[in-house]
Amino acid sequence: MDLLSLSSTMLYTAFILYLIATFFFGATIRQNKSDRKKKTKSGTIGITITIIGFIAQLVYLITRWIASGHAPVSNMFEFMTFLGMCMVLAFIIIYFYYKLSFLGLFALPITMVLIAYASMFPTDISPLVPSLQSHWLYIHVTTVALGQGILFISFVAGIMYLTRQIDQTVRNKRNTWLEIVLYTIILCVGFIIITTIFNLMNYNATFEYQEGNRTVITEYHLPAIAAPNEGTLLTEDAMQPWFETPKWMHGADAGRKFNTVIWSFISGTILYGLIRLFTRKRIGAKLQPLLKSVKPDLLDEIMYRSVAIGFPIFTLGGLIFAAIWAQIAWGRFWGWDPKEVWALVTWFFYAAFLHLRLSRGWHGERSAWLAVIGFGIIMFNLIVVNLVLAGLHSYA
């Protein structure tokens, strides 16, 4: 077996192990309240499996690094997988401090969604363009990912806090918003499912369209609902598009991406509908009883502390190391490139979060909403800025 296939096997193994660990963390629900503070058997098994999974993913990282000759953090698939790994690491660290098994029940599934989402992007090893050929590639990227991984824990604690605390007896603005957050996660799952299905079917439809003076060919791997603007379908016996992507959508390959978004909404919404149909409750309401025995104070504390720990690391990697590298590569340490601006936005946001914690009334629920929004900004910077707002970092 060559290194690369060993590497993908290890990633797959890690994924499965995280899944199994989730079930063990889930099993800790059954314990009665008095046992909860002590180490629990299934919690111990869960964290052990998580650690083995993390080691498997570490092996994936190292083997892929050896196979490609550079740190595997250079494209969308590699970076998001690595971010997933950092999230698991952050979870492990926080677990040993607070011993809260429930955190695993929420953190691991979301991490798995991210890793699965990552593998929907091209997984081939791509060579490095000259600007990326530097040690700062992995110094900068690993620090950023570690910081974001820790900030992710505050998001998880925030979600748990909101699920635990928000009144679910009647529909209101707050539980609707929480439902929207959960629905967004389900949309990602929808994207994964639909992409996997059509990948297995080997679906392909080729379009040709004009971009400025160039003729561009693009391949759809999902049936085209939205064709590229003024595009013509070249593949025979493929589904005819229903409409064209509007002209104002720009960016490379806007049509194909827009089409993928439409499909994610369709499949995610169906999935969400099915869940609602079976449970007859808002997802938030369904999850609420699980968290009854967790102290909201503790969740608030984890939320705040993970921001307190993650913020300096994020600053170091996302702003300082980034600036040093930019100085070496381009001769300017700051260039107002969209990715840089969004790193600054993230930094401003968490700085505001930390300052608001000084005020009365900003602990608890309001903090939890902020933690959720903060991670939303990080994900926006990762996905939307890379795919939609073109810039120096649009490597996918």
Binding site: S68, G69, Y98, P122, D124, I125, S126, P127, L128, V129, P130, S131, Q133, W136, Q165, G212, W248, H250, K295, P296, D297, L298, D300, E301, Y304, R305, A308, I309, F311, P312, T315, L316, I320, A323, Q327, I328, A329, W330, G331, G335, W336, D337, P338, V341, W342, L344, V345, F348, A351, A352, H355, L358, S359, R360, H363, G364, E365, V385, A390, G391
Partner: protein, 545 residues
């Protein structure tokens, strides 16, 4: 200044909320920190007298109060955040793509993004980050940083210095973590003291009143990191002066030797060769990706020699050039000499160095040359005399030809797609004829020309784009960033924990405060109280519920 004397004897400055020594809430000042309606007292700045909360008469007081408010600070941050986001909706002017139909911002934004783009341009958002109001916003944040820090640091520092181990009872029982034990033995107290020391607390015992303290220096973290940020902002102001910062972009052709702009004629650069390499398609690691995404460049490199002019100070004298540096400039590997740094920033392959033309009779099927001439595109002449009596004058030269609304224009001044309007003067004073010729174009405007021009040959070269930088502000930025990191680590990764054990009758009152990580201080207390009769503290502030 009106001083306030506490019943413990300590004299506090005006505006104090909690006595600096014993912590007793000072009557009449409780509204300042909102303590009057709450069971717990607000411990944020240890109830010290802050200027912003005390004086509110003069205009300076009001400005001070305004900027020292955290709420104002957060609002400024949020506004800066939203403004920064706005600037990424459409590309900034400097990021208008090179292949855009028009790079003129007045045209680009409306053309590509329609009415929203026009509004974006008219609001000046295409240069948002250098707009006056964005700068003002950042400056306001800077002012807020300074005033906030001064307003809090000085009194907090004094109060923590003056604090006593003996605390007023209301101070203790209104802490978040508190317990009261009726009877406690001396041995238990000694055990706890020993345990506290073992847990690396700094223990003070004043007549049986115990104060255990740890990590006070973390309280200074925010002020340290704010100093770092101020240094960064000052560095940014310095950078906008030409004294501290030079930025030049040079295009230099292969084989060309030019003076480097921005060096006062002291340095010259010669481009030996520009090299562009690509990743090997046959490399089996990358074969699949290259097949999918196309050829990927692996190296941009300019081999240069830098010369120093030894007598540049003598006006009019031809400089004597002495080579001081031979280097290969690559991405991520800039060249350095003296105080300057040169970066590989751009390239242009296949520019025209020279073009050789011939003249032939229009109706000659073999197009055999009647005469030839060569135009050196780096230095084109106005007219060329040919051996056989012909002469050619160049009426128009478009180095980078393209048709703009039916009129021939040059996009740049670089010979990337040269085209000419030439007058051909045949021998014997026949009337001159007009020809238009370029790559893939040969137009006879009148259709009656007897002689035709043709391209015989051409030579190409590459051009390197290099950025020259001098940035004396970098050390300041590094210093600011380092101080910021130290401060933020100090403030975030350590906590200021205090545990008070004061006797009451035969028992003790135990209270504890930390600025963050209550979970941690709880664990500490649990540990130090182990095997003693002192009651574990109760968290008096459970959230919600």
């Amino acid at each position: 200044m009106k001083k306030i004397k506490c019943e413990c004897g300590h004299i506090n400055p005006e505006g104090t909320v909690l006595c600096e020594a014993c912590g007793k809430p000072i009557e009449g000042n409780q509204h300042i920190d909102g303590n009057q309606d709450n069971k717990l007292i607000n411990m944020r700045y240890d109830g010290t007298a802050r200027r912003s909360q005390t004086y509110n008469k003069s205009i300076i007081d009001k400005i001070w109060s305004f900027f020292s408010s955290v709420k104002v600070g957060v609002w400024l941050i949020v506004i800066a955040l939203v403004a920064s986001m706005l600037g990424t909706v459409f590309p900034q002017e400097m990021y208008i793509p090179a292949d855009a139909v028009s790079r003129d911002p007045a045209i680009f934004y409306e053309d590509i993004y329609g009415i929203l783009g026009l509004i974006y341009y008219q609001l000046g958002f295409h240069n948002l980050y250098s707009s006056w109001w964005y700068m003002v916003l950042i400056a306001l944040i800077g002012i807020s940083l300074v005033i906030c820090s001064l307003d809090r640091f000085v009194p907090l520092y004094k109060a923590l210095k003056k604090q006593k181990a003996k605390r007023h009872e209301t101070f203790l029982n209104r802490q978040r973590l508190f317990s009261e034990t009726e009877t406690v033995s001396k041995e238990d107290i000694e055990t706890v003291k020993a345990n506290l020391k073992k847990a690396r607390y700094n223990v003070r015992d004043e007549d049986g009143h115990i104060l255990a303290e740890k990590g006070r220096f973390s309280r200074w973290g925010p002020y340290v990191n704010h100093i770092g940020l101020i240094i960064i902002l000052i560095a940014a102001i310095l950078r906008s002066t030409s004294l501290m910062y030079t930025d030049e972009y040079i295009w230099v052709r292969e084989g060309e030797q030019i003076v480097i702009p921005g060096t006062n004629g002291e340095y010259y650069i010669e481009n030996k060769e520009f090299i562009m390499e690509t990743h090997d398609e046959d490399d089996e690691r990358f074969a699949q990706a290259i097949q999918q995404e196309g050829i990927v460049p692996s190296n941009f490199q300019t081999d240069v020699v830098v010369y120093q002019a030894t007598n540049s100070s003598i006006p009019g004298a031809a400089p004597e050039l002495e080579p001081i540096l031979t280097d290969s400039i690559q991405m991520n590997k800039p060249a350095k000499f003296d105080k300057y740094t040169l970066y590989q920033s751009g390239y242009q392959v296949n520019e025209f160095t020279s073009m050789t033309f011939k003249i032939h009779e229009t109706d000659d099927p073999d197009a055999s040359a009647l005469g030839t001439f060569t135009i050196d595109l780096t230095n084109p002449e106005a007219a060329y005399e040919l051996d056989n009596g012909f002469s050619v004058s160049i009426e128009q030269y478009y180095p980078d030809y393209y048709m703009n609304d039916g009129a021939p224009t040059s996009e740049t001044n670089y010979p990337r797609n040269p085209a000419f309007v030439m007058m051909v003067y045949p021998p014997n004073n026949e009337s001159p004829e007009v020809s238009f010729i370029g790559i893939g174009r040969n137009i006879d405007a009148t259709g009656e020309n007897n002689y035709k021009l043709g391209i015989l040959d051409f030579e190409l070269h590459d051009v390197s784009g290099l950025t020259l930088r001098v940035d004396y502000t970098l050390p300041f930025f590094m210093l600011g960033a380092a101080i910021f990191m130290i401060g933020v680590t100090q403030g975030m990764y350590w906590q200021h924990r205090r545990i008070w054990i004061n006797p009451k009758g035969n028992g003790v009152l135990l209270a504890a405060h930390t600025n963050k990580n209550w979970f941690g201080i709880n664990k500490d207390i649990e540990k130090v109280l182990k095997n003693t009769s002192i009651a574990m503290v109760v968290d008096q502030q459970e959230l919600d519920e």
